[in-house]
């Protein structure tokens, strides 16, 4: 088989578009719930864990060149403990997609076409994702690369066009709720960033791992910068009290855009989140399929793509009965759970790998 290689920038672009776009849609309410009008301070503080995440991913990828998370966790912790950890990570990715597509479907059925069954949207997004994933990582990376270049200007434009409604007095008084709420806000933002850990499944296919740390940390900083617009925008326009009660505040923001006689530009929102969800779902699906294939030592990952996709749709319904349940989960449990799996466990992996200097390859592995 032809070895597929993607560039560093393509890989990081996949990470950026998958985290930012779904983050903007679903997690902004959680951040605002915790940090309120001080969200921007939380966001600034979150740069530190963001850099830590970026560093962890790139450090592990550079130390174990050409190996994915599933492979090197077995190298570091031994066969069985490593496999267990790999299963935990894959489970995390799996759960992540079920949340995302549920949120995606709920977004459409509650905000745009209330009468269409949610299953239609889930199926649609999986048709796109399965097709892309089966076409290979190279196609996935290239598709996303072009989309992201298209998304960023639209995002910036949207933020400029909402300027007229913004009232920055809404940010006052600063730090009225004390440090606790700010730190909780930081934790919830960190939790969103943690899902970028999925990159450790694809960084093994990067053509050159030179300066990977620098690039990854840069990507994390860019990502933080991309959160500034929506987080501050929502509070500046709606104020803290109204913003907390909304499920899709950023979408509401876009709806208020007016350009001359053109108004209600829902289409922009649909475009942004279709592309973003496509990027995230297909990236995670790819990581899952490859991870499962590597766990069972099967060469061709494509056979897993469709069954996993079907399973994800089913589980996404089991997650919760309605969107309120999902939102509560994201608010109460997700910040701790995601940070634990996406940041603490990888850090442990990194520290253990530092102490075990002479790591021997597993028998039967050829690299």
């Amino acid at each position: 088989m032809v070895t597929v290689k993607i560039s560093k920038i393509q890989a990081l672009m996949l990470g950026i578009s998958s985290v930012t776009v779904t983050g903007h849609l679903f997690y902004i309410p959680v951040i605002i719930y915790y940090a309120g009008r001080d969200s921007w301070i939380s966001l600034l503080l979150a740069t530190i864990p963001a850099i830590l995440i970026g560093f962890t991913i790139s450090f592990l990828a550079q130390r174990f060149k050409g190996q994915t998370l599933v492979e090197y966790s077995q190298l570091i912790l031994g066969k069985w403990a490593g496999k267990l950890l790999a299963i935990i990570f894959l489970g995390y990715f799996f759960h992540e997609i079920t949340l995302d597509i549920r949120g995606f479907g709920e977004f459409y059925t509650s905000a745009i076409t209330p009468q269409t069954p949610i299953l239609i949207y889930m199926t649609a997004i999986f048709i796109m994702a399965v097709y892309a994933v089966r076409s290979g990582l190279e196609v996935l990376a290239r598709t996303n690369q072009a989309f992201l270049l298209f998304l960023i200007p639209i995002g910036v434009l949207a933020s400029i066009l909402t300027q007229k409604d913004k009232d920055y007095k809404n940010f006052l008084p600063v730090m009225n709720n004390g440090w606790d709420s700010i730190l909780l806000g930081t934790l919830s933002i960190t939790a969103v960033y943690c899902s970028i850990f999925v990159l450790s499944m694809i960084l093994s296919d990067v053509s050159s791992a030179k300066h990977l740390k620098k690039y990854t940390v840069m990507a994390m900083v860019i990502q933080t910068a991309m959160f500034i617009g929506p987080v501050t925008g929502v509070i500046a326009v709606f104020g803290e009290e109204r913003a907390v009660g909304m499920y899709f505040p950023t979408f509401q923001l876009l709806r208020d855009i007016e350009i001359g006689t053109l108004e209600r530009l829902d289409v922009i929102g649909v475009l942004l989140w279709s592309l973003g969800s496509f990027a995230k779902v297909s990236l995670l699906l790819y990581a899952l399929a490859v991870g499962v294939a590597q766990l069972f030592k099967i060469d061709d990952y494509t056979i897993f793509v469709l069954p996993i996709a079907a399973l994800i749709v089913i589980v996404s319904f089991l997650n919760s009965e309605d969107f309120i349940g999902i939102y509560r989960f994201e608010r109460d449990i997700y910040p701790y759970y995601s940070t634990l799996v996406g940041l603490v466990l990888p850090l442990i992996l990194l520290i253990v790998s530092l102490f075990r200097k002479n790591i021997s390859p597993i028998k039967g592995e050829h690299h």
């Binding site: 459409y108 076409t113 796109m128 892309a132 290239r142 598709t143 072009a146 475009l271």
Partner: protein, 510 residues
Amino acid sequence: MFKKNRKLTKQAPVKQEAATEKLAYDLQTNTDEIQEQFGKKSDLAIRFFEEMKMAVVYIESLVDNETIQTHVIEELNNQKAKLGATPLKEISLSVKKVIQIETSQQLKEQLLQGYTVILKDGERIAIAAETSGGDKRPVSESTNESVVRGPRDAFNESLMTNIGLIRKRIHTEKLKIYKCKIGTLSKTAVAILYIEGAAKDENFQEVKSRIEKIEIDGILESLYVEEMIEDPNGYTPFPTIFNSERPDRITAGLLEGRIAILVDGTPAALLVPATIGLFLTSNEDYYQRYDFGSFMKMLRAFAYLLSFVLPGFYVSILTYHQEMIPTPLLIALTGQREGVPYGVAVEIVLMELTFEILREASLRLPKTIGAAVSIVGGLVLGQAAVEAGLVGQATVIVVSFTAICAFTTPSYNLAIAARILRFAVIFLCAILGIFGLFFCLIVLFTHLNKLRSFGSPFLSPFVPYHKKSWMDFFFRHPWWSMETRPNEIAGSNQRRMPEESNNPHMRRRK
């Protein structure tokens, strides 16, 4: 199904039977055998020269009568006296080419290429003189790809003329031509052209091996070759091999490092590897000023996108997202559609189908009646449909504008893809609203990313991103700045202009 076919072509060709059967000594035996094989009452002509014990054999429909009369028969008659004793090999004839034949298989092949074969009693060889002729269309102006400024000539059906048209544009021995014959029955001549150094050698080897693997009885058009040598991309409505009937277009491709495939009997020449930029480019972009050329290029790309999405966009906006339309316009639109019984999607599909039928009708009809069809279709049918309340006026506007957008696509087979996929877009937009449109675009874009043409990604230089090749993608930079060939295609010699130049006119690029 497609995969199976591809595998079949890989098998070794079946050996020709009796390929080594030699000619007989006896003249009568040889001529009888030929006569028997071609049939007694065919266009085969045999003329005996009793005194010299010689025979001249040719196929009447393939030869140039005048050449045979003046250069073969007359010359043989003039040399009557000494010919009886001279061996065949030493006979000199004033024709372009004379070859020696040893087997009866060879003899048949040469006869079928329009050669005149001369046989002599008592010799086991024959000689064949090149006398091929027959009628061919003169080189005329291109009717399908017309330009305001630029060369007018177009390929015709003769391979040699076509190669000549290219040779006359590139006077270098580096223009390599590789000729072969495909088709077990048709024996169609196919030529592969490339410029050594400019084109990648592995590309040429790939083209050659794919062409030589073709097994089919006959090739009548270059599309036969095109479909058989395409990359195994799975199903795709998009063309991954470019075709044109303009020699300047093909020559420009050769200079970029692409490889041309010319097939005898058709004016459509192929160009590989083909990327999307090639299909959206008209050669006039290079013959007009660069600012205008760039504008046209971008306009055309935009129009191509519109020809895809416009009907679908209209359907989704009017069915699901009315709030996006400014209120006065919305009132006007719904007012027009008041009497229309169907949904917007049905209306659009109805009109699109009508348009496709009209278009096909005007294409098949003789040119003089074609104009009548467009009048009936465009004016009478469109006007009447609106007045009868079958469709709204806006629908007619959208459908006709889409059609006009589609006409701007310079490549006919790229436009075909949009024509087919437009219906899928309309269908999905009718079901899913604007998300259906984005769904289509995402799947389509992923699909285009998957496509490859002889190893080159179809969407390059867009993705994968090659900065230098962007000079000739959405924009057409001035000629003095386009120093390199597109790097995803070209071979070792990447530069079109020397690196250092003392020429003051060239220096302004620095």
